[in-house]
């Protein structure tokens, strides 16, 4: 492969793309969606919403006492839960930020000067989460109820999160950040499975590729298109983050997740383009592929059945989402980060392997 020729075709593609309404649409649509989400969920960051599940055999003043400790920036919602098993499950699934198990006679014992136990269930959450806040103020709340210290023995138990929980990011990062991530994945997907195939198929339909391959090899043309797709991804995702005023905790993590995902998704786009012949086919089929790639975005905030999560786990964008969410939070929200790299690299190897196989057949 000749780098000079790849560079020449790549520069042409970039210049041409900026005048191509289809590519501009693929860029602008997710960007505008990101801006929309940013405004729609813009107040999320200002107020921390904490959902507290309470298991209590009888009425208790503890919830009021905790509420009194909360500053204006914290909005607490208390939900009655039937039993300890149920509250454990809900905390595990991240349906609740924290669970409180208040034993029978708790209020009376506190008033009598005894030191009853109260169980606080928190998920294995990163610092600063709602669970941590509630756990921290329970002591002070009980002291306020009793008017002395120590008024109760607070037992805290950390719950292991369920692995397939799709709402982890939503709970930790807030809707604004999550939908910015969804827009970023949409951007990566649109560029990879729509813009790149559209540009390649246009070359084939207008036979400009015949003029290129009079001197360049098909592999050089494909390499240039790959560079083109990855460049657009690497430029447009940071633009999305800037215009939505997103501040990821781990910038290097975001860049590396976007780079890896862009390379993999563009490979998928190139392999996909090899199956198509006309622009009309691109318009039809890329929409379907895009829907599949965006599936993880549609399940955010939903308690998807386990089977759905298992199927989605095969999609590269699920792992892109997890890597980006981790980088946004600045800590590991999802377990098995190594699996994300394995899945993405496997997709990349499969996609570029298919492209290579088709090219070698064409060259022969």
């Amino acid at each position: 492969m000749n780098r000079r020729r790849i560079g020449a075709i790549y520069r042409k593609d970039m210049r041409d793309a900026l005048r191509d309404s289809r590519v501009l649409t693929a860029l602008l649509m997710p960007l505008l969606l990101g801006v929309f989400y940013s405004f729609a969920f813009g107040d999320d960051a200002a107020v921390q919403k904490i959902k507290v599940g309470v298991v209590a055999a009888e009425a208790t003043k503890l919830t009021e006492a905790i509420q009194a400790q909360a500053p204006d920036s914290v909005r607490l919602t208390f939900v009655d839960v039937q039993d300890q098993g149920e509250v454990e499950r809900q905390v595990q699934r991240e349906d609740l930020d924290v669970g409180l198990v208040v034993p029978a006679g708790f209020d009376a014992d506190v008033r009598a000067g005894k030191a009853p136990s109260v169980l606080v269930l928190v998920p294995s959450a990163p610092s600063g989460s709602g669970g941590d806040f509630v756990a921290a103020v329970v002591d002070r709340s009980v002291e306020a109820m009793a008017g002395r210290a120590p008024a109760a023995r607070v037992v805290q138990r950390t719950m292991k999160p369920a692995e397939d929980s799709s709402e982890v990011a939503l709970t930790r990062l807030g809707a604004q950040s999550v939908f910015v991530l969804v827009s970023a994945i949409m951007l990566l997907g649109m560029l990879a499975v729509y813009a790149v195939p559209a540009v390649l198929i246009e070359e084939a339909e207008r036979k400009t590729i015949d003029a290129l391959t009079l001197i360049a090899s098909p592999a050089e043309v494909i390499a240039a298109k790959g560079q083109f797709g990855v460049t657009l991804s690497l430029v447009s995702v940071p633009v999305l983050l800037v215009i939505t005023r997103s501040h990821p905790e781990d910038v290097v993590g975001v860049i590396s997740a976007v780079l890896l995902s862009a390379v993999v998704l563009v490979g998928i786009g190139l392999a996909f383009a090899g199956l198509l012949r006309t622009q009309q086919q691109v318009n039809t089929w890329s929409g379907i592929v895009l829907l599949a790639l965006l599936a993880p975005a549609f399940t955010v905030g939903l308690a998807a059945p386990a089977i759905v999560n298992q199927i989605l786990a095969f999609l590269p964008t699920v792992w892109t989402f997890r890597l980006l969410a981790d980088a946004f939070a600045g800590e590991q929200l999802y377990p098995d980060r190594w699996l994300a790299y394995v899945v993405l690299v496997a997709w990349g190897v499969a996609a570029y392997g298919l492209v290579w196989w088709r090219l070698s057949r064409q060259e022969a």
Binding site: K12, D16, A211, L212, L214, I215, A364
Partner: protein, 301 residues
């Protein structure tokens, strides 16, 4: 074309180790089958350096397939084609810098302007960027060089296609139906450019539907029918050999009569009219390439 382009042909001479002196293209028993369909069926010919060679035939005769094989874009099923001494299929990388092609389709980047189109190919062929302005001037597109190609007329696009094909100063220039769909003035301009290339020493390999064009431009033509060459010679020789020789006689009654010279009855008639003093003028009529093709292929182009 500007005279300063009339220098050496080809930026890169390439290896000439297998080249027969004076021969640009050598085709031996070349064939291409698509399943059971024989698109090209064992054709052989040579094209001399600096020659304008025409390949004529109706749609589906195998012209474009032949060009695809000669330019290394299709592998032959059998036989071989040497271009500038290199096997077009086995040594494509050596052939590529030495040739160029004016495609049948106007396959330009229409959102780019003419300068950007030529610059891309100058970079691909590693030609000096100064060549871009030189060619824009040569094809009279300097004033429109910064306009997007999609605003060009068909004639302008075709001139740009020719300029693009000359970017690497090819030793062999292939033209696939270069004047198809053009108005007479634009077609004449393109033909002038082809002649200029031949004058500068490039070998020109041309396919066309237009018999007059082939007659005017080509040193030799080959007629292709159903994948086979049915005749190959100079246009004049073909017309003399296969064309109908005739005269148009204008009589004193102002009537025009066409007589075939090969027909004894027509010859006797002409002799009688001459004897009777009824003949005002006699115009000899040479056969056309169209006639030749109809005689050989059994149908018109």
């Amino acid at each position: 074309m500007s005279s300063d382009t009339a220098t050496a042909v080809g930026w890169q001479s390439g290896s000439r180790s297998d080249e027969v002196p004076g021969i640009s293209i050598q085709v031996d028993d070349l064939s291409k089958w698509y399943g059971e369909v024989r698109a090209v069926d064992g054709i052989s010919f040579t094209v001399r350096e600096g020659e304008v060679f025409g390949l004529l035939g109706h749609n589906g005769a195998g012209k474009t397939t032949t060009i695809r094989m000669l330019t290394g874009r299709a592998r032959p099923t059998g036989g071989r084609a040497l271009v500038c001494g290199h096997d077009a299929a086995q040594a494509r990388e050596r052939v590529k810098p030495l040739i160029n092609l004016v495609f049948e389709e106007q396959n330009l980047y229409e959102r780019l302007n003419a300068r950007e189109n030529l610059r891309l190919f100058a970079e691909l062929y590693d030609a000096p960027l100064g060549r871009v302005d030189e060619l824009l001037e040569a094809v009279r597109l300097t004033d429109a060089a910064d306009r997007k190609v999609k605003t060009y007329s068909s004639g302008m696009k075709q001139r740009l296609l020719v300029a693009r094909a000359l970017i690497n100063k090819p030793r062999v220039l292939f033209l696939d139906e270069p004047t198809r769909g053009l108005d007479p003035a634009s077609a004449r301009e393109i033909r002038g450019m082809v002649r200029e290339q031949a004058r500068q020493g490039a070998t020109v390999f041309l396919t066309t539907h237009y018999m007059e064009e082939a007659d005017e431009l080509c040193d030799r033509v080959a007629f292709l029918s159903s994948g086979r060459i049915v005749a190959l010679d100079t246009p004049r020789e073909l017309k003399l050999r296969y064309g109908e020789r005739s005269v148009v006689v204008v009589l004193d009654s102002r009537e025009e009569e066409r007589l075939r010279l090969d027909d004894p009855a027509d010859a006797a008639l002409l002799e009688r009219w001459m004897t009777e003093g009824r003949v005002l003028t006699v115009h000899s009529q040479e056969g056309t390439l169209e006639d030749v093709f109809v005689n050989l292929a059994g149908r018109s182009l």
